[in-house]
Symmetry: C2
Subunit: 457 residues, 2 copies
């Protein structure tokens, strides 16, 4: 059966199965969802067996379990390891969702719901593409699957799991569908990712909330001070002021900057798509560079004092922020984390107490474009989209990719099929339904190429 017929015949069931994944609120950041993590892993185990895996099991880690499955056809064939994650981001602020976040809704050509792109939608594309290739007799490689439940909180247990199960995870390449393309009209494959460092800052002033009339003016206000501290981390040129922060930043070549300039980019459309009048970033770099090859400093959350209705006058005891840096290749997140903490501790004034706690981190990654699996993916995109995909660097982070290289010695190809407009990590996450089915075709096409050539391992 041709793939289009196959997808047409099974369309209803495929959507129902995707819906069963979306319906499980597997939010790794929120402890109350612990039982949902197990339910989601169980659901994947079932779906991987249905897709044709010889075996699938739920394996313990120090945190949420890993789902492992495999289809071994021949020891003579190369092996692809499909990595994905079954956890999703929190859905707050929930009042901004137009549809129930944990319900797969079809709306005007789009799937809607948390995880429809990141990463339940994209990983189900991998599974269904594998299923077709297997049933159609196209597989000339072995396929293993490792689906983890902690990607959105920085994969804290997966490195140890990889070290413990190196033999089980042996493969020639890792495939990951968890990134975005330039657009549905401009297919692209991500060849670089930013790293990440993430901290929580706590500023403590007086040991209790004070009356701002009685004490105001005489005692440092922790929110004022937290704001000054955060404001001081970037200068007027958008540079990060932490000493030695830029020491290891890769100076990207003029040739690569030219390649970035070749990416179709319409600033007016870009601004309109996110509802801003003007853009802002590091001077000396354009928007695409700022969002991919340059490090950043963003406050992800801030809170302190009175945040209810009305006008409570208070000089609060504490203030908090969650802050993060996206890092670029060669910047080591552990070193940056240390530099940041030292800088804050060194510059904190004596009238407040400041503590900085690292919450998360990961290295950046670069994929060589002459890798056999990269070439197979490139050809698959080219055939289905009708045009050569661009090789681009992206601004996001998948810290575990660098760990795979370090611990397992395996390179990863980032067969991402998302779009920036999918609102991953935001309210109203969505994914175009036709791109979902096109993605399955691309994965199936990949298996018609990868392993069919002697140079593929």
């Amino acid at each position: 059966m041709k793939i289009k017929e196959y997808l047409s015949a099974n369309r209803k069931q495929i959507i129902a199965d995707l819906a069963s994944l979306i319906s499980i609120p597997s939010v790794s950041a929120q402890p109350e969802h612990k039982p949902d993590m197990i339910r989601c892993a169980e659901r994947w185990k079932h779906l991987l067996l249905e897709a044709g895996a010889d075996n699938a099991e739920i394996m313990k880690t120090d945190g949420n379990p890993v789902v492992f499955a495999s289809k071994i056809i021949s020891p003579d064939y190369p092996t692809a390891l499909i990595y994905a994650h079954y956890d999703v981001m929190p859905v707050e602020p929930i009042e901004l969702w137009n549809t129930p976040p944990f319900e797969l809704t079809e709306d005007n050509g789009y799937f809607k719901g948390r995880g429809t792109d990141d990463d339940k939608g994209q990983s189900f594309i991998q599974v269904k593409g594998f299923e077709y290739a297997l049933r159609n007799g196209d597989l000339r490689c072995n396929v293993k699957f490792i689906f983890e439940g902690e990607e959105e909180i920085g994969s804290p247990s997966l490195e140890k799991f990889c070290r413990t199960h190196k033999e089980l995870l042996k493969a020639d390449v890792i495939l990951v569908s968890d990134t975005s393309m330039v657009s549905a009209q401009t297919p692209s494959i991500t060849t670089g990712l930013r790293g990440l460092a993430y901290w929580q800052i706590a500023v403590t002033g007086p040991d209790r909330d004070l009356h701002s009339g009685i004490f105001g003016g005489a005692v440092a206000n922790p929110i004022n001070e937290l704001c000054k501290l955060i404001a001081s981390i970037t200068d007027n040129d958008g540079k990060i002021t932490v000493p030695s922060f830029y020491d290891d930043v890769e100076e990207v070549s003029a040739a690569e900057r030219e390649m970035i300039a070749a990416v179709p980019y319409d600033e007016t459309a870009y601004k309109k798509s996110i509802g801003v009048d003007e853009l802002k970033g590091e001077s000396g770099y354009n928007t695409l560079e700022r969002a991919s090859i340059r490090p950043t400093f963003d406050v992800c959350g801030i809170w302190g004092g009175y945040t209810g209705d009305g006008a409570k006058t208070v000089l609060p005891s504490q203030a908090f922020a969650k802050v993060s840096c996206r890092l670029v290749p060669h910047q080591d997140y552990r070193k940056i984390s240390e530099l940041f903490i030292q800088h804050i501790e060194r510059t904190a004034p004596p009238y407040i107490k400041v503590s900085v706690t690292p919450l998360h981190g990961g290295q950046g990654y670069v994929c060589p474009i002459d890798l056999p699996a990269y070439k197979a993916a490139e050809k698959a995109y080219q055939r289905i989209f009708g045009q050569q995909p661009l090789a681009i660097r992206r601004g996001g982070s998948i810290p575990i990719i660098a760990v795979f290289e370090e611990v397992l010695g395996i390179k990863t190809v980032l067969m991402g099929l998302g779009l920036e407009s999918d609102a991953t990590h935001s309210p109203n996450e969505n994914y175009p339904i036709e791109l979902f089915f096109k993605g399955i075709e691309i994965v199936a096409e990949f298996y018609k190429i990868f392993g069919h050539n002697d140079t593929d391992r």
Copy 2:
């Protein structure tokens, strides 16, 4: 019956009645407590009648009702109008309370609970002092009571109420027990109050929360920008940078600064009492000056982005802050509010939208120390405490005091009996039990003096 005997005989009932007030969560800032405002007003009406008022009624305003009561003895006598408020501050963060906030607890010589000082405790002192003076035949003045339910949100309805009921509220002086003394060992009467302006700032960047990897570095982050904005409002000398902000600030005379320097003040004890290692404030002024005769800029609350567990990476759409300035005599809060809004709007960068909404405001106040009622209060404090009370300026704001002067043409004497350690506006608000009963003696003593002298009106 001597007052000590009277208080001893009635001690249990007085405490039970105070407990009945504390048990009503009359939090004006939180709309869910609307019914409690009515309950609290009803309770006061009952207690004022019990204390000996001829009549007491609950009167409508545009907001929470006013309780009005009076005892008219003779048109030939001067009239004192007792102003107080039956609303209290919110109790959040509730987890920091060691006792239930809306329950009067007796602990080691202290009353504990929201309002035990501010202002249920202090206003009940006024009522019980009046009751004794009346029963003992000491009254040579008429007494009126006006207890409002919106002081903690800036008394938005009281000015109109005063304009509407000028005749009813006619009096020679207003007495208010809602301020603090230097300490239980150093009695003092407040002769100056700071004004207040209070705003909410909203910063909007992109029209939804964005992925901080995909967009980070290229798009202004509203929290980063809010922090920069707040940080820019004060300079390194602790001065406020809003143009023309200091234009009308009263330059306090050297003589008055000397009087402030005479107030007993132990910096080590002050720092210890609030748990800070160092103090911070405007350069060129000492701690007591910074907290009374100089204006301030304090952030009372801030929020935005992800504030839950874990490390969600997000570039949020919006960030908010509640900010306030304490003002000093001659600074008009309306003018300052306008200057502040104009400054923010003028300096807001084009890559974010900033809106500033005034939430609250009031003028500062100065009380002349040759006022007959001031002199009577001074003598009453002197007799009960055994020492002359200091005349001091305080940093807090009771905006309605300036309105009384403007609308009713009546000066106010601030017969405050609180202590700075009472944790008003904070968790674990408390009030020393013996000071509570001493306060009743002072008020009763006041009535033995005020009106007994021909010069008293």
